[in-house]
Amino acid sequence: MTSLAEEPAVVDRRSSSHAFAEFLARFRELGIVLALVIVVGAATLDNHLFLSAANIQQILAGSAIIALLAIGETIVIITRNVDLSIGSILGISAYATGVLYVHHPNVALPVVFLLAFAIGAVCGAMNGLIVTVARVPSLVVTLGTLYIIRGIDGAWAGGNQVNASMLPDSFNKIGYATVLGIPYLGWIAIIAVALATYAMRSFRTARDFYAIGSDPAAARLAGIPVGSRVFLAFVLSGAIAGVTGALWLSLYASVDAIAGVGYEFQVIAAVVVGGVAIFGGSGTVLGAALGALLLYTINTALVVVNVSSFWSMALSGALLLAAIAFDRLIALRLAPAMRTRRTARG
């Protein structure tokens, strides 16, 4: 029913719109860098101290926390799930780290991080088990564990606080020391993001995450162990949040029951702004980390130029919507060409 003459035109249209979409997808990471330059430039014009070493270090250290959390969240979202409990996991792990130092001031650093890792991994395993075994949507499961973990944290901490004086300097140093002008935390995030970006490209298990998020039914047909992969994604996300909890304590040097409240939304916003598809299947850890850096920088910039922090929230929200609108726009642009292509032979 399709004439032969029509064929080349359709093919051209498809491949050009495809190329356009690919360009935009790449443009996404460039676009974030560009936005970052504009924000930094504008803030510096207003207040030259914005580009001071101290401020840059503060931004790098602060955004490192969000970027680290974003690595785990990206993995989970790529599998078409979501992890809302990371803020609570960070909180309980940070408090546990503090308490460990209070009781054992001389404990070795690796032990501290092993504990933080274990706490996070256990919480993540709980999420993963409920999601995969009971087949409850992860949005609901992790909303539940968000409150459960925060509740346990609150009951445990009560009104207590662990502060800098109770922590050894070897630990606090992680939060403030720098190498080559970049804080330890910044280096940790850069190395972690680089490793994760490479791993997500190069391992079968990681490609399985993408396949599952892209089409869960097809993944099952292709023999991918969907359940254990999704479980793994949650364990990774939890473990990363756990370790980040210890790092968070080194940065802020004091912890109470509300550490990390609301971080999950900052992280999800960063991940989405960074180009990870909220329905899974595509996106990179690098993009998500850049998204974290951009959002954190904007927040700092608005403080520097004396804009109320309420406005900075609104701006984060607007950026999130813009990012989603952008994705939708690409999809819509591609849709008509694809429909013609698909149905031309119906």
Partner: protein, 504 residues
């Protein structure tokens, strides 16, 4: 690995499969040989897909034997079937849109280098080599999103080759392809055959079967009819085997006198779905829209009812034009649609029976914006009685009903609006024989009362038994229109498979 190899690579003997009350496969038999393309033909519902799914490991037969190289085998899932060297190319392949073509081919079996890292370069190179072997050009690095169906099938075929599949089953692969793409696919099938693969080619299109296959199996009503080498066959002999069955005496067609024109559609076109479709339905008349799955029947019905917009042409109800893409306008004009998939589209499964029946007639059970339970119940009870609905309580959720009674509920919903035109899409699919006859009686009575009925059906006996006129679609176009007296299964099947009438 040549044609002389006498033992079948895989054979299925006397396979049976039922889904609840539906006997999908009564006696499935097939033997596939290496280096041979085996055609499988049969009407809609003949059991071809069930047979394919048994080979795929998706369904397990209730009885019968599956022999792999003469050894009995049991497939519990798709993976076991794949491991046994069977690859299935479905009509609509399932690829991962966000992964590249090469990744889709090698998903789960990516070539690795040190530290179990994926060797991307080798993966791309091997994908290119596969495409070269198949004689096609496809960029292994592009994303699968937006690939045409034909190209998606290619990716699936390439995937089958990486797993060294010996048996390749293609389930109506050409249904969604253009002429060019079909020719390309044929070349590839020929390549596979020359390599010594066994190919099972399921198709509706007989000319394709005759072009491609060395052996043909015909199925009818879930049963194996015969398997013959292509040399002994002619198109008419295959068609006869496909349709030759006893006419059921299940169709209480009442004689009616067609009245005024209720529905007139003129050159209706929706790009990619159907083209230049014109016909009329008069009051008191049952017009059947016949054709194969994918011929555009449901799409035409959806367009008339306003679910999908049309690109060109017009739809008139009693001389008044309908706006495109407006179901509420279609309802206001007096159209009712009983959709093919009643669970998804015809009913709200968790709502009660009475609520479902009243759903399309809220105006009659509503006073000042409030729905009155009493009015709703009285309304529903009235229609349940007229249609002899069998239910425990009207307040039970509608999923508690049997398939046939669910269908009656959908009918009741629309009859409550006193439609001028009722469109019924596969009205008796998945319904037991007794209720089937009741639905037929009901449609017949409706027509006798002056309702215009447009019926889509894949069951030829139903079409022949019920319709006053039959419009046959093929690939989105009206192929032929028959009056009741001129129609027989042979002629309809010919038109539906796109065979032009010459010296029949």
């Amino acid at each position: 690995m040549t044609t002389t190899d006498p033992a079948p690579v895989i054979s299925l003997e006397h396979a049976e499969k039922s889904f609840g009350a539906v006997h999908a496969l009564a006696d499935g038999d097939i033997e596939l040989f290496g280096g041979e393309v085996h055609g499988l033909v049969g009407e809609n519902g003949a059991g071809k897909s069930t047979l394919v799914k048994i080979l795929a490991g998706v369904h397990r037969p209730d009885s019968g034997r599956l022999l792999l190289d003469g050894e009995e085998a049991i497939f519990d899932n798709a993976k076991q079937s794949q491991a046994a060297g069977i690859a299935i190319i479905f009509q609509e392949p399932t690829l991962f849109p966000d992964l590249t073509v090469a990744e889709n081919i090698f998903v789960g079996v990516q070539p690795l280098k040190r530290f179990r890292r994926i060797d991307g370069r080798r993966m791309r190179r091997e994908a290119s080599t596969l495409f070269e072997q198949l004689g096609v050009r496809l960029d292994p690095d592009r994303l699968a999103r937006g690939l045409s169906i034909a190209d998606q099938q290619l990716v699936e075929i390439a995937k089958a080759l990486t797993t060294n599949a010996r048996v390749i089953v293609m389930d109506e692969p050409t249904a969604a392809l253009t002429t060019n793409e079909v020719q390309r696919l044929f070349r590839i099938v020929e390549t596979l055959r020359a390599r010594g693969n066994a190919v099972l080619f399921v198709s509706h299109r007989l000319e394709e079967i005759f072009e491609l296959c060395q052996r043909v199996t015909v199925m009818r009503d879930g049963r194996h009819v015969w398997t013959k080498p292509i040399g002994e066959l002619t198109v008419p002999s295959v068609i006869r085997a496909m349709v030759g069955r006893d006419m059921d005496a299940l169709f209480p067609k009442l004689p009616t006198e067609p009245g005024r024109v209720v529905l007139q559609i003129e050159r209706l076109t929706r790009e990619g779905d159907f083209t230049d479709v014109s016909f009329v339905v008069r009051s008191g008349e049952i017009v059947a829209l016949a054709g194969l799955v994918g011929a555009g029947r449901t799409e035409v019905a959806r367009a008339i009812f306003g679910i999908d917009r049309w690109d060109a042409g017009s739809v008139e109800i009693e001389g008044r034009r309908l706006p495109p893409g407006s179901p509420s306008a279609a309802m206001a004009a007096g159209i009712g649609l009983v959709p093919e998939d009643r669970r998804q589209q015809g009913l709200v499964m968790d709502f009660s029976i009475e609520r479902n029946i009243a759903l399309a007639s809220l105006d009659t059970v509503r006073r000042g914006g409030m729905i009155f339970r009493g009015a709703e119940r009285a309304f529903a009870r009235d229609w349940a009685l007229r249609l002899q609905l069998k239910y425990a309580r009207l307040t039970n959720p509608v999923w508690t009903l049997s398939g046939g009674n669910q269908q009656k509920t959908v009918l009741a919903k629309w009859l409550g609006r006193k439609p001028k035109l009722l469109i019924v899409d596969e009205p008796t699919r998945g319904i037991d024989v007794g209720t089937k006859a009741e639905v037929h009686r009901l449609l017949s009575e409706l027509a006798a009362q002056g309702v215009a009925v447009l019926m889509i059906s894949s069951e030829l006996p139903e079409v022949l038994g019920m319709a006053d006129r039959i419009v046959v679609l093929f690939e989105g176009r009206v192929m032929r229109e028959f009056a009741r007296a001129d129609a027989d299964e042979d002629a309809i099947m010919r038109a539906a498979t796109g065979l032009v009438e010459d010296a029949a």
